[in-house]
Amino acid sequence: MPELYLRLLNRILTPLLLLLAIYLLLRGHNLPGGGFIAGLMAAAAFELQILSRGHDRVRRSIGPYLNSGIGLGLAIAICSGFAGLLNGVFFKGLWFDLHLPLLGELAVGTPVIFDLGVFLVVVSVATSYLLGLSRISDSAAPIPDGASSLELSDSFESDPAVVADDSSLRSER
């Protein structure tokens, strides 16, 4: 499956896409971008990985982090909300001006941290969907005689038993 041009593209594009995602995340507060877009962009990078390297290897390398990524993202988002309590109200923004040696003045606030949480949730959710679906596609093979129906098809309305009973599918073997 992994074809040469895809592997080549993967080598070049994945780091670029991930960098682009981070760039979009960081600049999101003032220019088009933000956690949601950056998350999707990173997920696109992972999709390229899945296409070029196969979902198994991608799952082995990043799969274990996805669930914790969702939880961590939610936790970061909620915590940035609680930080607002220091300012009196839940989710009220807190802002600090940082003086960084090379970049100069940088305004950091809880909304930016919140955006980081959004990014983590979006990238983790999207990637876990991609991984899950690509595995399904891998385990599916055409049925020549069309004896059984597919989950996504309309015909279950007439025969719900097919969905309910996995053994009816297994018996096809």
Binding site: G35, G88, D115, V121, S137, A141, P142, I143
Partner: protein, 837 residues
């Protein structure tokens, strides 16, 4: 200090969890320290009250009515919420019970759950409960009280469900939680109405204000608050959750379900007594429900041979007694409440703890299998005997004082020719007889009589006929027995120190009455009608005790399906069935049905809204002619949408759908919405690539053609959805809408000064509407869980001609050499690593 005490309890719970108490010998003693500290601190704070400075002969209103300590903390000022606490006579009594019994229970837990590696978890939940309970009784704000009230419901759920592998424990926890949390909802409504009606959420202000009973909202307030209090305090018709909650480990039963949490409802009624009791509705509601509960509990206690179930029904009965007493306004009745609360805590707590010791030592707690424990567990038996005699109300024990106070107050109400008084008096007398009967049953069958022989029980595997006592597997440690011993000793000495104790009782009764009271509990009233009734009740009780086997036989014939638990289970089952029907109707089996229902439901409000306005106003008056780029895009969208619907191959449909999406993206670009465009574009790319990935692998679409009527239906739904979307957009961009209520200007003007960001869309997402976004990403996370379940569930695996290879098991080598497997896998590429080959 009040808030600090609550924090101390919370933190020590976490600390106990952290030290892994099941591995430490001294953890039991350590765990008793924080509640002990809180007890001592309360006694110290209340010293002016207790030393008799103001209370001795009942005149000094400032101390009797007064607040010992009051604290206020900021909480959510923008909503006018504050955390406020107040320690007065009533909260002091409850606070002392909570922390005092807490000392014994904390000590006991360590030995009861010895070698259980989840002991730390139990301590964590127990101390969280203790903190909530302290907060509940110290709260001086209705909403503060409610928060802690809910805290007790949640922690109680965790404690009942501690043995989470047992379905009985899970069921008991669930039922208790549904009842108490449902009651909590009613209570919240009632408290808010109360706050609105009286103009203040401060409890001390509310009870100081007269005239609430004349308010129009009074019946609603009363009913809602009563539902809350009755559900928490296991009053009829909610009484059945309490026996179910006995699946909890015994320390939790002793603490939550007899001494403290179930008294929260009683506490609430007592707390609001001054504000609400001046109305016949109060009198009759409390009298009827309390009276029913006390009779019901007393009778059904006899039916059960499980020690804890018996005690649970006895507790239900006692709670009914307290509720009944609160119906009255006389000082004697209020004093009887106070005495009843303390005496009950001091005998029922130890009885539960004793039941736990017996369970721990012998391995069971069914009275039919027990006997003769006085030989093998002499100290425990002594504790049980004293506590049970107190429960029976035998003089000169504390229970007797409480029962005397109860009968006296009911009799004095009856003497005034009060029908309510007679009812209460009669019910109390009958209940008293049953109290005696089940107390004697408890202590006789488990401890005093010789062990039952084989024919009575099925527990004869290790103790056949010969033994006189149920064998002991784990002799209890001294500190294990010390916990109930302390409590029972307090209860036994209490009647002889009633004079100093009255310095606690009197202020507590005065808090309920909201004025000084002048009655005192005493051990000996003389040969009053109440005493004679008490003697009669004891005699009848002994008779009931003697004929208990016939009573049990009779009671066990009652149909099971009239019991509250069964009715509730039926209700739940019906609810699930209803949910299934609605789910089937609204979600159907196919995506088409499901989205059709959603779209049509969403269009209902739009139709209603559109009926209110003139459709002609929606169209901009000079109809703008779209320029060439827009026209091309519109054509592209139209054509590809049509193609999506008509094309027969899946790939074709996916690609043309992608064209629709990307064309819409271009629209966003035209109207300078780069964030939307980026998002949409990324989503399109991801989905198209993904769908191509999945759908090329799927077998060809060989469904039978859709029936005509289904096609027509789908087309209609789609057209309707499109039309409604169209009108919605028109409506939003119409002149009237733009002029009236546009919030865009606010966002545009405040993004940089308020949100420190020039990208308004992003500032809206992460700052102005951050809570919305929070909700959205939470939904996303939940959807990921759903997707995980869906994609990993066995039935979603698509059918394959070959057995599905379990993942990461045995790479494909053997398979490729096998000609049969190789051919049948057709075009599925094995996930091999090219480098490895």
């Amino acid at each position: 200090m009040l808030a600090a005490s609550i924090l101390l309890i919370l933190v020590s719970g976490a600390f106990l969890y952290w030290i892994r108490p099941h591995t430490r010998v001294w953890a039991g003693l350590l765990s008793a320290l924080p509640p002990l500290a809180v007890t001592v601190w309360q006694l110290n704070a209340a010293l002016p009250l207790l030393s008799g400075a103001g209370a001795a002969s009942g005149g000094k209103a400032d101390l009797q009515n007064g607040t010992i300590i009051a604290e206020h903390y900021r909480w959510i000022e923008s909503l006018g919420l504050e955390l406020s606490f107040r320690l007065d006579g009533l909260s002091l009594l409850f606070g002392l019970i909570i922390s005092g019994i807490g000392v014994a229970v904390a000590l006991y837990t360590h030995y009861y759950l010895e070698d259980d590696d989840r002991q730390g978890y139990f301590y964590l939940a127990l101390f969280a409960f203790m903190a909530s309970m302290l907060g509940l009784v110290w709260a001086d704000n209705l909403l503060t009280l409610f928060v802690f009230w809910e805290g007790t419901s949640v922690t109680s759920y965790l404690l009942i469900g501690y043995s989470h592998r047992s379905p009985v424990a899970r069921g008991g926890a669930r039922n208790a939680f549904i009842v108490t949390a449902g009651g909590g909802l009613a209570l919240l409504a009632g408290l808010i109405l109360l706050g609105q009606a009286s103009g203040s959420y401060s409890i001390s202000e509310i009870i100081a204000r007269p005239g609430l009973a004349e308010h129009d909202l009074y019946p609603a307030i009363l009913i809602l608050i009563l539902i809350g209090a009755f559900s928490k305090s296991a009053q009829f018709p909610f009484h059945w959750w309490l026996p179910g909650a006995m699946a909890a480990p015994t320390p939790a039963s002793a603490y939550l379900h007899s001494a403290t949490m179930v008294k929260a409802g009683i506490y609430l009624l007592a707390r609001l007594h001054p504000a609400l009791s001046d109305h016949p509705l109060w009198l009759w509601a409390l009298l009827l429900f309390g009276g029913t509960t006390m009779l019901l509990g007393a009778v059904f206690a006899l039916r059960h041979s499980d020690m804890k179930a018996l005690l649970a029904y006895a507790t239900v009965s006692q709670l009914g007694v307290l509720t009944t007493l609160l119906a009255f306004r006389s000082e004697a009745a209020l004093l009887a409440v106070v005495v009843g609360i303390l005496s009950h805590a001091l005998y029922k707590g130890p009885l539960f703890l004793v039941a736990g010791i017996v369970d721990h030592a012998t391995g069971h707690r069914d009275l039919r299998m027990l006997g003769g424990l006085r030989r093998t567990l002499p100290v425990t038996s002594g504790i049980a005997l004293l506590a049970a005699l107190s429960m029976a109300g035998i003089p000169p024990l504390f229970g007797f004082v409480a029962k005397e106070a109860l009968l006296e107050s009911a009799y004095s109400a009856a003497e005034h020719g009060d029908a309510a008084g007679w009812l209460a008096f009669g019910a109390a007398a009958v209940t008293g007889a049953f109290f005696v009967a089940y107390s004697f049953t408890f202590v006789w069958e488990a401890f005093l009589r010789p062990a039952p022989s084989a024919e009575t029980g099925d527990s004869t595997s290790h103790s056949p006929h010969s033994s006189v006592a149920t064998p002991i597997h784990h002799p209890p440690a001294p500190a294990f027995v010390a916990a109930p011993l302390i409590l029972v000793a307090l209860g036994t000495f209490a009647p002889f120190v009633l004079k100093p104790l009255s310095r606690v009782f009197t202020p507590a009764a005065a808090s309920i009455a909201a004025q000084p009271v002048h009655v005192y509990a005493s051990l000996w009233h003389g040969f009053t009608p109440a005493f004679l009734t008490s003697l009669l009740a004891i005699t009848v009780g002994i008779w009931l005790f003697l004929i208990r086997s016939r009573l049990r036989a009779f009671l066990s014939q009652l149909p099971d399906n009239l019991r509250g638990v069964f009715l509730f289970q039926r209700l739940l089952d019906d609810l699930y069935a209803l949910a299934q029907i609605t789910a089937r109707f609204s979600q159907g089996y196919t995506l088409a049905t499901q989205s059709g229902v959603v779209l049509l439901a969403a269009s209902i409000p739009i139709v209603v809204a559109l009926r209110q306005i003139n459709l002609n106003d929606l169209f901009p008056t000079p109809l703008a002619i779209p320029g060439a780029p827009e026209t091309i895009l519109i054509l592209m969208i139209g054509v590809s949408a049509y193609a999506t619907a008509r094309v027969t191959s899946r790939l074709g449909a996916i690609i043309s759908l992608g064209v629709v999406g990307v064309s819409v993206t271009l629209f966003y670009v035209f109207f300078s919405a780069p964030d939307l465009a980026l998002t949409q574009l990324l989503i399109e790319v991801l989905t198209v690539v993904l769908l191509v990935l999945v759908f090329t692998k799927l077998p060809p679409d060989i469904r039978p053609a859709m029936q005509r009527w289904k096609q027509a239906r789908n087309v209609l739904v789609a057209l309707a959805a499109g039309a409604f979307g169209f009108f919605l957009v028109l409506f939003n961009s119409s002149d009237a809408m733009q002029a009236a209520l546009s919030i865009s200007d606010y966002f545009l003007h405040n993004a940089v000064p308020g949100g420190h960001g020039a990208n308004v869309v992003n500032v809206i997402l992460v700052d102005f509407r951050a809570i919305d976004t929070m909700g959205e990403i939470t939904v996303l996370a939940i959807a990921a869980l759903g997707g995980y379940a869906l994609l990993n569930a066995p039935r979603v695996r698509l059918p394959t001609p070959t057995p599905i290879q379990p993942e990461s098991e045995q790479p494909t080598e053997s398979e490729e050499t096998d000609p049969v497997a190789g051919t049948s896998r057709l075009n599925v590429d094995p996930p091999t690593d090219p480098k490895a080959e």
